[in-house]
């Protein structure tokens, strides 16, 4: 089993070679999509390999000629990878209208790579309107048609139903993994946990599901670190750079639940298999959230995070802020006030994907554990 785990960690550490291998082996098309919400099932049903492009740790050199330094590090990294050829094996790109940075990067992308197929998935902001349903049905139909043209394969209702099953299974398995993280935090190191989730972004999901279902029973009895001193909920875009997770391990803090875009948020709302397709995919999109990038008239994030704290017996919350992520930064004051009101300790931790100096991060994490009474001096 250790070798299964190692192979997943290897995929996460070196995704482009894994994706290239898949492409050579199957002769299929690779479709890259930007964060956060894309109906991957349709890509999968079209016979393509969906890969999720969440930036990465690359030196930003070429992208600076096109994107301002105060754009978020995720889009800067995506553009850098595009310019330096890392995405050469990607046959088509999907840019959802997640935020200003992604939408405008899509325009820059179009001018830089006019011949590379791209689809703009422009979502309706108001998901409460009936018009949103009509609009989304047409949007997903357009996406399906674009994918069929790209892959030369028809998205039949049987294939789509099969893909929906695979993706629901994927969400359920990751939910099991997340439950393990809360019940037995000692079973995986923080970076291992992060890398398993990351590996799922690049593997064909049926294959990933097989690996993870093999791993789960074995992980139940695994122990790689002492029982944590502090149980923490992580909210934000993503848990990167992953050194943060290693520092937390070292200090005795464990992430027992998350509200991350690259984490629990994309796994929410399984597709209702009893509904007809593709309407069930539209239904799922309408049920997504709470998320800083989705209009939320109920402002449900604070309540959700409080619920996570209670459910997982957490000691505190870390708001991991991807620097320059406006959507998240506007959520922060609301969340801060609500958690303060509820008496839940909160740490604001600002990060960039490519940051190298971890000294300040370490100080904040260590001091936060001390505040929780779970560090030195307690």
């Amino acid at each position: 089993m250790e070798s299964v785990l190692q192979s997943l960690l290897e995929v996460a550490a070196n995704p482009s070679s894994e994706v290239s291998r898949w492409r050579q082996r199957t002769g299929g098309k690779v479709v890259g999509w930007l964060p956060i919400y894309v109906p991957e099932e349709i890509i999968h049903a079209a016979g393509a390999l969906p890969v999720s492009l969440w930036g990465g740790r690359t030196e930003i050199v070429r992208a600076d000629a096109h994107l301002q330094g105060f754009a978020c590090s995720v889009v800067r990294a995506v553009l850098e990878y595009g310019l330096k050829g890392t995405y050469n094996m990607v046959d088509g790109f999907i840019f959802p209208s997640t935020c200003d940075h992604i939408q405008n990067t899509s325009d820059i992308w179009a001018s830089l790579f006019p011949d590379r197929p791209k689809f703009d998935l422009v979502y309706p902001a108001n998901r409460q309107s009936k018009a949103a349903v009509v609009y989304l049905e047409q949007l997903f139909a357009d996406l399906e048609q674009w994918l069929e043209e790209l892959t030369g394969q028809k998205v039949t209702s049987e294939k789509l139903r099969e893909s929906v099953k695979i993706y629901n299974c994927y969400r359920a398995l990751l939910a099991d993994l997340f439950s393990l993280r809360s019940r037995k935090p000692e079973s995986l190191s923080g970076p291992e946990m992060g890398q398993i989730v990351k590996s799922s972004l690049f593997l064909e999901k049926a294959e990933f599901n097989r690996h993870l279902s093999d791993l789960l029973p074995w992980l139940e009895h695994r122990k790689v670190k002492p029982a944590p001193k502090a149980r923490l909920v992580l909210t934000g875009i993503m848990a990167e750079p992953q050194e943060i997770l290693a520092i937390l391990d070292e200090l005795g803090g464990a992430i027992v639940a998350d509200d991350l875009a690259l984490g629990a948020r994309i796994l929410r709302a399984p597709v209702r298999e009893e509904l007809p397709l593709p309407a069930a995919l539209v239904d799922r999109h309408l049920r997504l959230g709470p998320c800083s990038t989705l209009y939320d008239w109920r402002k449900g994030r604070g309540a959700h995070v409080q619920h996570l704290v209670a459910e997982h017996a957490a000691d505190g919350v870390i708001f991991i802020n991807m620097k320059f992520c406006e959507a998240e930064e506007f959520d922060y004051p609301v969340l801060k006030a609500e958690l303060e009101e509820a008496g839940i300790p909160l740490l604001f931790l600002e990060v960039e994907q490519q940051m190298a100096a971890m000294g300040q991060i370490r100080t904040r994490l260590q001091a936060f554990l001390e505040v929780l009474g779970k560090g030195a001096g307690s």
């Binding site: 620097k323 100080t363 001390e370 030195a376």
Partner: protein, 261 residues
């Protein structure tokens, strides 16, 4: 008699405090040279000499500050935030807020019962509002940083420094010099700029009296006065502003060593 030691290894300076029985400061030393440059060893050696004790007599030593993980001689480490809380509570039990202005960062710490840290905020990666900002400005003005407070006290008005960014603020200072503005007034503007930046962050916490200002920059009366004016509250500078963190580390070392006994 139990002797303990606290070492605070900052970005620019190293501080060492030797404490007797958790209440009497035997020696306190601040030396140039922090994480790099052997500052820790020098501060420790000087403090030991000043206290007239040998390293072997120290029952327990705790390191804090950015260099805490690389300073191997300490038995334990604690974050500087926790140490500043302990140090401030020892120096002034009525302290509820500590504003620590160091070489590369500043932090605002809220204390609860017994000096326990209940909340804190820190500046993000940006030198505005730190000792480094003052040093850069002092260099642009051609005066040692230690003279700024005195120069600023002669100001008749404050020249506005509008840029938050240290690099842009420096060029603003040079423009003001070129425009023949009074150096004292520019210095007052620099102090105001630091106070503005710190006050902005401090207001994220609910401020309560008594407020202590610590760190190297606390020795600059101009900054402290500007901060008091901005926040509309009195600021207190304790006896050991720059060694407050090292003092907290020595106190923590004492707590730990008495637990063991």
């Amino acid at each position: 008699m139990i002797l303990t030691m606290g070492v605070d290894l900052g970005s620019i300076t190293a501080k060492c405090v030797i404490l007797q029985d958790g209440h009497q400061v035997l020696a306190e030393r601040v030396v140039k040279g922090g994480m790099i440059g052997g500052g820790a060893e020098k501060a420790v050696a000087e403090a030991l000499t000043a206290a007239g004790v040998a390293q072997e007599e120290i029952a327990n030593a705790v390191a804090t500050g950015y260099g805490r993980v690389i300073y191997a001689a300490a038995n334990e480490e604690m974050s500087e935030i926790g140490c500043h809380g302990k140090g401030a509570f020892f120096q002034e039990p009525a302290a509820r807020i500590v504003i620590d202005i160091g070489g590369q960062d500043f932090k605002v710490i809220k204390l609860g019962a017994g000096g326990r840290v209940v909340n804190f905020v820190m500046n993000e990666k940006c030198a505005a509002g730190t000792g480094r900002f003052l040093e850069v400005m002092a260099q642009a003005l051609g005066h040692p940083v230690s003279e700024l407070a005195q120069i600023g006290s002669r100001a008749t008005e404050k020249v506005a420094i509008s840029s938050t960014c240290t690099v842009f603020a420096e060029s603003e200072v040079i423009s003001h010099l070129a425009a023949d503005k009074k150096v004292a007034d520019i210095v007052a503007g620099i102090h105001e700029s630091i106070a503005r930046r710190i006050a902005g962050l401090a207001q994220r916490l609910t401020l309560e009296d008594k407020i202590l200002v610590t760190g190297g920059v606390a020795q600059n009366q101009g900054v402290v006065a500007a901060l008091a004016e901005r926040l509309g509250r009195e600021m207190f500078v304790p006896r050991f502003p720059q060694s407050n963190g090292a003092l907290g580390a020595a106190l923590y070392a004492f707590e730990k060593s008495s637990l063991v006994r």
